[in-house]
Subunit: 332 residues, 2 copies
């Protein structure tokens, strides 16, 4: 019995369960020479997948209709005719939302569950950790004593960004959407200050208060009005790292914000969008550093683990309601 | 008889003549040891001065009320007690809007009217030329075969940007506000295509047509809806150079535009504000290159020369009506 989740139709605005189609086939998969049979163990759901559901030009091609949705998956090798893999290995890679699947092994990375929990290879030691580390360092070029603001701070990427910034000696301010998340930022992740954008009546003023020396780096996961408020507080030569814009992904009209250009020119400031694969040549180095910090317990992580293959679409949709704390993962 | 122009009050929105006060003193200036007496010959008026008229945080401090306005000035040394300057020398520097003034010579650069017309030291060989050259090269990192869009293309900076881009082998598209300016871009400055934003009904589509391979570099002097339209056409790894935002300088409310963040993240694109003084260590090299191209007639320039000290404020105000072609200069 193999279950698959296909893209049934493209969302307008917020994705819903009806965008997906569940298919169950009463079959057994077989493998040929060079192939391996994989069983999904953990599936990653990420905001950027919303982009792939639309039929629009982006850095990754859109998902095709009536084809399986894909994301980062940790899978167990349950049969192998490929010399590089042995039954019982665990691998990480971009795989289909499917309980079992066949692969030729290309693009898969072996992961070691004895060194760190398997799920961390989708999070702090996976793409989200690399995104945090490389975005912050390659674009932000952080210097001890500077001030950084992180939006989506309790999210998978944001919580790692803030912790790395603390390790590097910055003053770290996080913006998130519940008091519980703000508490988590300050107690578990060591942020210096937190702002709850849902209860704060004047985010601009709150940032000014939390960042008396102004903002040198802004790691932006959200866009929209929160990012507008940060702009009023940036310093000369500020670096704004555009990692995501979750607040506008579901907008059907082109969203409007305040004009950033006057702020950038007044402050000789930089705004740079990126995806982690731009820095693929630095993955090795970054992952080693992250693993070292994780081993030293300098880096904490939070996962929201949802159970059950059938809940993948719901877990994905919940990202846009801010229901996750840290990395959102589905355990199969 | 010494005439001075003071800042009388700060503009709200568009500057007017009433923001300035003319003062005439029936006096003769005298100089002490180490000083020189200067007579203004050419005065530069520039959009960025609008920023200094406001009492807002910016990269240069605001002008003080009831004090002389300053800008780039070419002046003649009419008396000298400073060994570095001789009567008859011409100098360039940031000086007051005043017919005659005393200086200790600090920050003044001697300029040679026999090598190039004196006024070019305010334009193509001065701050505007350096702004074009350094903004394009340091941020834009142009490569032969790429496509660049320049807004405010018939302006002092824009016209030089386009020409340098052509020298470097790029496909160059200029946006300007009259058919006459578009004609000038194509005939005199060698742009490949021009778009008149005042008569064009769909700037986005016009850019798409003029840039079939997409836009790799956008040199932005204007901000606002023109810049919004360019965003829809940027390529992966595009560089957007924010030199100015003349379309919004006079707005009294914080202007809104489409959100740039989704475009930047989708395209791993960069947006960087700057002022030319960020690159002071490259002035020498840049000026030599510009002078070489000017000597080889690879670089053309246009000046709009207004006559008479009393017309300085009007010339400045006319910048915001797009009445200048190229560098706006007042001849005293």
């Amino acid at each position: 019995m193999i279950k698959t989740i296909l893209l049934n139709n493209r969302p307008e605005g917020k994705p819903t369960v009806s965008n997906f189609e569940f298919v169950t086939k009463d079959t057994t998969l077989t493998i040929s020479e060079g192939e391996i049979l994989l069983e999904a163990v953990y599936v990653s759901v990420d905001p950027y997948l919303r982009g792939r559901m639309s039929d629009a030009k982006s850095y990754v091609p859109p998902f095709e209709l009536n084809q399986p949705v894909q994301s980062g998956v940790i899978a167990k090798v349950i049969a192998s005719k490929n010399s590089k893999f042995t039954e019982g290995d665990f691998v990480s890679g971009l795989l289909a939302w499917q309980t079992q699947q066949v692969s030729n092994g290309e693009g898969l990375l072996k992961v070691d569950g004895s060194k760190a929990p398997l799920s961390t290879y989708l999070g702090v030691l996976g793409m989200t950790g690399l995104t945090a580390y490389l975005g912050l360092n390659e674009i932000g070029k952080p210097k001890a004593g500077e001030t950084i603001v992180v939006s989506g701070a309790a999210g998978a990427v944001g919580s790692v960004v803030g912790q790395i910034a603390k390790i590097l000696g910055l003053h770290v301010i996080g913006i998130a959407g519940t008091d519980e998340k703000i508490e988590l930022l300050k107690t578990k992740f060591g942020f210096d200050a937190g702002i709850n954008y849902n209860t704060c009546t004047d985010i601009n003023a709150a940032i000014k208060k939390a960042a008396p020396n102004g903002v040198d780096i802004y790691f932006d996961n959200v866009g929209g009005p929160i990012s507008d408020a940060v702009l009023f507080n940036i310093n000369r030569f500020a670096r704004i790292i555009i990692c995501g814009a979750i607040s506008v992904y579901n907008k059907t009209e082109t969203p409007k914000s305040i004009s950033v250009q006057p702020f950038l020119v007044k402050n000789s400031a930089l705004m740079q969008g990126f995806i982690v694969s731009n820095y693929a040549e630095k993955f090795q180095e970054a992952m080693q550093q992250l693993a070292t910090w994780l081993g030293e317990e300098k880096l904490k992580y939070t996962e929201t683990v949802v159970e059950g293959f059938d809940n993948i679409p719901n877990a994905f949709i919940d990202l846009f309601e801010g229901k996750n704390k840290g990395k959102m993962i589905v355990k199969i």
